[in-house]
Symmetry: C2
């Protein structure tokens, strides 16, 4: 994949982007930065506002499958109905061992993922493939939340695929996995754990190394900061200087009122922490969605939105306050259409949330900020992380579990002679890229990254505005997937000929 690493950037159309910062400084100083309670905290998946989104619509049947809630024990738990979307319009069927393109559903509404994963829909005809988009439903229900784990999710997929193939006499049809963000992690892990079920996986923007100390905890926010710095050093500095100003203002009498007015919040801020969260979220999402053309993910934004943020910050008239500059900047994220009168923080601490639960159980991704970032310096502190989880979710995280189950420090080393057929795709503007796989591990476990790309644009529907390098990246991915299928069929034929 060496030919690809030198490519220019890939602005990933933000699809499944939203990421979670997880618990942090809620109860400690300096002020909260990664508040897990705020809906503005970056996460893998936000709840997209339907009204804003105008992605292509695709045709599919919606079906349900009775799934075991717990595959790994026999406690007589109830089943749950797993929803999946299926399209067989282009499928050449079992007689031709035609492939099944299987999207590893993230924690969220699968229809939304289906609508935002155009790549799979677009390649299906040329592969004469069936398309399946299963949903991970456990996140919807507090009573089933305990079983919302990556291991159960990929086991769900394994059972669903097996049953689906049996019902369609499609046992010989190869399955190719797709996933972006958390779904990309699931895709790569599923290929590793169920090689007999799927012949390969395209794992887009999958930060499978964002655990323990596999990468420095500062990685994510450093990339966010670098995205801004590379657009404009003065913009980066304005943001970097703004935190002290916010803190100082918050200390003043009526300071919170003043901040609330300046940032046009509908209700008065209760703390500067809430404002910080709101800003952290904006900067993080802007970095994830730093695409080269206008996109409408969680929020409609212009192309190269960070450039626009910095243009606004840098071009304020002389004498504009730093707070006003910041407000002008983040309005690119929160109010690009200019239709919002006031902003509602809506930080309901009682809102149940699947991803936060996962962050408090197995998805423990250490986050910190260094002094080289545009954020106030903050060290990762597992103890307060755990306290937050115990307090809010009454659950004790297992911070070493994911690396035990799926691989930690020895991961790449082990895979040099084990496993095959995984593409890790990334865009280096994406702050999650730092926790993903950015180098080829073996001949067929490969990394494709693009310098200017952001969060898994490759999975998005193609558009007329796609830059050449995006077109080329997708072509490379298709070529690799084609080679997996060819190799599979060749071996299959060899067995039949014997």
């Amino acid at each position: 994949m060496g030919d690809f690493t030198a490519m220019l950037s890939l602005p990933l159309l933000l699809s499944l982007a939203a990421l979670c910062f997880y618990p942090s400084t809620i109860s400690s100083m300096p002020p909260p930065r990664f508040s897990p309670k705020s809906k503005y905290a970056p996460r893998f998946l936000g709840k997209p506002s339907r009204s804003n989104y105008s992605a292509p619509t695709y045709q599919y049947d919606t079906r349900y499958f009775d799934q075991n809630l717990d595959h790994f024990s026999f406690s007589n738990l109830p089943k749950f109905r797993q929803r999946y979307l299926i399209n067989t319009d282009h499928w050449a069927g079992p007689s031709r061992a035609a492939p099944i393109l299987f999207y590893c559903g993230n924690e969220g509404d699968i229809e939304w993922f289906a609508a935002n994963t155009g790549f799979v829909w677009e390649i299906a005809p040329r592969f004469r493939a069936m398309i399946v988009f299963p949903e991970e439903e456990a996140y919807r229900n507090t009573s089933t939340l305990a079983h919302l784990t990556a291991e159960q999710a990929i086991a769900d997929f394994a059972v669903l695929i097996t049953e689906l193939k049996r019902n369609m006499s499609a046992q010989d049809c190869p399955v190719v996995l797709f996933g972006g963000s958390y779904g990309g992690m699931l895709a790569s892990w599923m290929r590793l754990k169920y090689p007999h079920i799927a012949i390969g996986a395209l794992a887009a923007s999958a930060p499978i190394l964002q655990f323990e100390d596999l990468v420095p905890p500062e990685t994510f926010y450093q990339i966010v900061s670098d995205d801004f710095k590379s657009e404009s050093f003065s913009c980066f500095n304005t943001i970097k200087n703004s935190w002290d100003v916010i803190e100082a203002e918050g200390q003043k009498k009526n300071g919170l009122s003043f901040l609330s007015e300046t940032f046009r919040f509908c209700k008065k801020l209760k703390s500067t922490a809430a404002l910080s969260d709101w800003l952290y979220s904006a900067y993080s999402y802007l970095a994830m969605a730093d695409y080269p053309y206008p996109a409408d993910f969680l929020m409609p934004m212009p192309g190269n939105p960070i450039k626009e943020v910095c243009r606004r910050i840098d071009n304020c008239p002389d004498g504009t306050s730093i707070l006003q500059q910041i407000f002008e900047g983040v309005s690119v994220y929160y109010n690009y259409t200019g239709t919002v009168d006031c902003f509602d923080l809506d930080d309901d601490p009682h809102g149940m949330d699947g991803w936060n639960w996962q962050a408090c159980t197995e998805m423990v991704m250490p986050m910190a900020t260094s002094k080289y970032s545009m954020f106030p310096e903050y060290s990762y502190n597992y103890t307060s992380y755990e306290e937050w989880c115990l307090g809010d979710y009454h659950v004790k995280p297992r911070p070493n579990w994911i690396t035990t189950e799926f691989g930690g420090h020895g991961f790449k080393h082990a895979l040099k002679t084990f496993g095959s057929n995984i593409i890790f795709s990334n865009g280096l503007l994406d702050p999650w890229s730092g926790g993903s796989v950015l180098e080829d591990i073996s001949e067929s476990i490969v990394a494709i990254f693009t310098k200017e790309g952001a969060h898994h644009l490759d999975l998005r529907p193609s558009t007329a505005e796609d830059p050449d390098w995006l077109v080329e990246q997708r072509a490379t991915e298709i070529k690799i997937i084609r080679s997996w299928l060819d190799e599979y069929l060749e071996r299959k034929r060899a067995v039949l000929d014997m």
Copy 2:
């Protein structure tokens, strides 16, 4: 491994042998054959009578590790204390990246497995290795039985290894897995699921294909029968003819009393089914333990015990009844020392049993007998199997789960280009060999089988009576394990040199 496939047989010292027949014809005709209730039913592990056993004793520390009962969900379940045995006498330590030989504990007392797995103890000095024997404890307790699954077991091992290495600063020390019978299945599955934790596995007599219809359900009993037939056709025929005689006798008035007396049961038989079970068990264990020299597994037996059974059956004086012949024969198994006055069936249907539970949950291994066997013809009937499980354990089996989780029909095909470093060792006299891997899958996932071997003799302590082919087999296994370690260290060094 081609050089090995032509070898003569390997009589495996029966160590972990006992196998389970699983539910079957309890409620159907012909009479029960695979009664899961009888302690005489073949199973992976029986409860060995300590008094009988005189295996070498090895030195180790006994330690405990607080283990999560459920790795794959967060239901706030209690932890359990996992016992493990450890020896570091010969270990060259972290500085030399000295290996850890890790035995995948079956469902049973780990001290007994340690004592009966001399191979691991004997090779430790030459590899300058640490030895660890963990126990699977969940089977001991009905409240934890729901979590007694292979997936939890190998996750237990993964967590234990990770913590052990962390505590001993041994993160770079390669782990090699060992296991026999069910433990062999765990070893091979663990290598496949946790390649980042163990660099290879010796899976002895591991019938990982004894699921669904991967092999014919008649396989097991056909091998038992063939073992007898190849010793003596008349012996085979006597056994084959005995079932009708037993049935006919059971129909008579006082027939059950007569049978009880003939077979010296302490209490009167309640049905001919109980006698059949008792006989099935004897024949099956005899086949598993058909070793070339005297051994003392569940029962002390002579070398080549089937030859001795058939000698006794065939050499009865003229006029000896067929029932008496059978009794003389199976006494080789049940009473070789001649010290037993009467036999206690002890078929307590209420006895909780870890392996039967597993057979009723995920370890659904279809069993049947063909007309070519020495047993009455019996077809596998999943419906009655399920009924038995629902009745006795209130649990519904998942007959397709193991193949979904670990691989079914496409298993070998998938592993041709995925995975590495597994030895599947078998002896063809062992009835479980038919459900194991008997052909090389790839360059490093290899099959070593010996024509005259039985159930995982290679894992037993070496003895002065070891035939050459056994010595040679172990040497081959050591050579392969050495190559895994060398390759690991070479790659490790290459990384350090970079």
